[in-house]
Symmetry: C2
Subunit: 463 residues, 2 copies
């Protein structure tokens, strides 16, 4: 369903927003419109928003949505814009609603291990506040220093620590949400457990602002480990590194972090940080254990990886920790464009090595380059495909074919088109490859219940 | 919305079911109708189903739902019937659809740490199969030896181990579901992570058969710890025991199991097992650590609880393990009735002691008895209220008032009306105390999308 009203003029929208909100909450400065017109994801078709609203409260969000209904514009909610699937891209006739000024930690209750935050709180800031109480907010996307909790919730963000601690959905207990008609509701709970009614909280998490706009979140905190042990293990090839992932599992160790970085990824780190990892060749596994058993688990991991012939960092050598932090806080080497696309599939863990082999075959077949980094503990891979920009359209064409084949290969192995980045705008073309027509239709009908006029982030998340 | 068709005769329904299914899959034997007319929850109004169908396949479930549409009866799906909120109670004009014969483990993939099961697989049977590979299916309701995975999914069952490993929803990756119109869909994924589209899987989990009927589930398995350490700590009173719960948290230990049993609960165990726990007085904490750090964590727990003056089982004393197993596998002392009701609220963990104190005050005020067992690590309490059956209606009246007040008190402390048992039929009267009108309405509208004719388990789960 789409908006019934004819599209309003930009002037009318701007004037109405200024009247409904404080003037300093609304802007149409061209540079800001441009900056807020997209996130880090590939752009199919650029659009400039009619205005950007910087909400300061739930009431601002409600007022904006009420105007959207009366005037007939759509609303793209936005955190820090660090998403990589285009979930926050402006579309036609759009007001971008930034939540970044709603950045207060409303409650932090150490004994309950719970925090209540506004959506614009930066992930890293919540973690810094929690650390003062020996706690952490577990989901840690690589963009944690910029990304907001609201954006993390919109995309159900993952990260490195979710091998052990789960993704965003596993840490969100309750939400305050403004619905498309401006109604403010509270869903979920304030306790670790609770099964009252349907799980609307999980439905909103990962819905990319298409069902409602989160204005507060109650999140569970976890224990910040006082002990962490890191192991860096270099393998001669990716197949052996993937065998290492399974060997750690067979040792029945659940690492907090378990990352696989191939030779191409090591080159990127070398270029960014002046290291010389690639020169030593091969594929790197980075493993971090935490909790009171961290040292015991470290020893088990060393034994398991040593038996496979890996070159392992010495116990206590700070290089392993440094490498984990390099990987952990890296946003990679800048923004993707039409000549370079980072992907985000997941496969059953036993298929890791088969999938990486297949990626190499796909790249060779279409004469594109590929490198891979993986949250290997979860079977979640981020291959990056690229071609030389000098090639122009022919390179872009081959890149797109390789992307399609890489996604198809993941599905053929029982995988998914997106492990943690979200469908957004960019991955919609593949959603029907994964989900049957009846499931796509069911999602459209749910969307209609929440947003009958199609105001909320149209053209995203579902097909 | 309700069924439009006039109610069919029992004979017509039975004949049509027999024609559509194999004859041995349908029964209206009075003893079976009676046995399948209810679960372990309190019964408001007894109803006898028109028939019981024992589905052997997804096709049987589809055929039953198609007939429900054409003939106009409603369908109550049922696992082992061990639920305690009346979610599987028969209502008027109902066919009970038992999934217990669909009890095959379809896949168990140790390297992926994933199993695919039919809904009638008994929780304990899946765990036994997984244990052969050093794995476990984490959710472990006290009824795990009888309860099915399908029933666990319908209620989003918890259990003892969810303090560390999460509830059913945290272990379910994907589902095959038959919708109200008989369509078979697959939702979710086959991988640990995945964010393609809306989280329909979480929506079905805990929906008590009101949105669709689960005919297969893909579940995540976890590592079965080879080391387990148990500690039994007796405190002079409940306030100190609750302080012990917080002391373990402050030691930053996440036990696999953390149970609190008050004096009244110890008496029940004594009666059932010939122990003499109650004679020693006070409140018992049962703690189990697992994983490679189990011994280190055990030592930290001993230190924390010892500092509070608890009487702690000696290291290695088998009594602690025995007590955990007694608690773990106990279904309590039989079925509740109108004179005795077990409850299931959850509160923020810091409110445990305040809530237990309040329970005592409520019981005293209304001259009813109360005892408490709690999954203390989660703040999830199971108080049992009872009166002497000899009192008749006046006792029942006081019991109901005490129940209402106990639920209100939990909500006043930021808690929920149900931590893990589900709303079913019994707790619907309290749902509106917890959830605002707009949220109740939103759930009705979702129900309408999935089940426009009101065929699936009417009168359950939502208000």
């Amino acid at each position: 369903m789409t908006i019934q009203t004819a599209a309003p003029t930009a002037d009318a929208v701007r004037a109405a927003l200024q009247e409904a909100l404080r003037p300093e909450s609304v802007t149409w400065d061209p540079a800001i419109l441009q900056a807020y017109s997209r996130d880090y994801g590939p752009v199919d078709e650029p659009h400039t928003p009619l205005a950007v609203v910087f909400a300061g409260s739930a009431a601002d969000v409600q007022a904006t949505l009420r105007l959207a209904n009366t005037l007939g514009f759509s609303v793209v909610a936005r955190g820090a814009g660090t998403g990589v699937s285009g979930g926050a891209h402006a579309t036609e006739n759009t007001v971008v609603l930034s939540l970044e000024r709603m950045n207060r930690i409303l409650e932090l209750r150490p004994e309950d291990e719970v925090a209540v935050v506004e959506p614009g709180v930066v992930n890293g800031d919540l973690n810094a506040a929690a650390a003062g109480h020996g706690l952490m907010y577990a989901p840690d996307p690589a963009s944690f220093r910029q990304a907001t909790i609201g954006g993390n919730i919109a995309t159900n963000a993952g990260g490195l620590r979710c091998a052990k601690y789960g993704v965003t959905r596993d840490s969100v207990l309750g939400l305050d949400v403004v619905l498309a008609d401006g109604t403010l509701i509270h869903v979920g709970r304030n306790t670790f457990k609770g099964v009252a009614g349907y799980d609307l909280t999980s439905l909103f998490v990962g819905s990319e602002g298409t069902l409602g706009i989160v204005v507060a979140a109650t999140v569970r905190l976890r224990y910040l480990s006082v002990v962490q042990k890191s192991v860096a293990a270099l393998f001669p090839d990716t197949a052996l590194a993937a065998a290492g992932v399974l060997a750690i599992a067979r040792a029945r160790v659940q690492p907090a972090i378990l990352e696989l970085l191939d030779a191409g990824t090591l080159e990127v780190i070398d270029q960014a940080h002046g290291t010389n990892l690639a020169a030593r060749g091969g594929t790197l596994l980075l493993v971090r254990t935490d909790g009171h058993g961290a040292a015991i688990e470290e020893a088990l991991i060393r034994e398991a990886l040593g038996a496979l012939g890996a070159e392992i960092s010495a116990p206590g050598d700070p290089v392993a920790d440094q490498l984990v932090e390099l990987r952990r806080s890296s946003r990679g080497d800048g923004q993707d464009d039409e000549f370079r696309v980072g992907e985000d599939v997941a496969v059953p863990r036993s298929r890791l090595v088969g999938y990486i082999t297949e990626l190499g075959a796909i790249a060779a077949r279409h004469d594109v380059k590929v490198r891979v980094v993986a949250h290997a503990g979860d079977g979640n891979l981020h291959p990056t495909f690229w071609v030389d920009p000098a090639e122009g359209p022919s390179g872009i064409g081959r890149l797109q074919v390789a992307l399609d084949e890489s996604v198809r290969a993941a599905l053929d192995m029982g995988g998914t088109i997106t492990g943690e980045h979200g469908v957004g705008q960019f991955k919609r073309r593949w959603l029907g490859w994964e989900q049957q027509a009846e499931v796509l239709e069911l999602q459209r009908r749910l969307k209609d219940v929440f947003d009958p006029r199609g105001i909320l982030n149209p053209g995203k998340a579902i097909q």
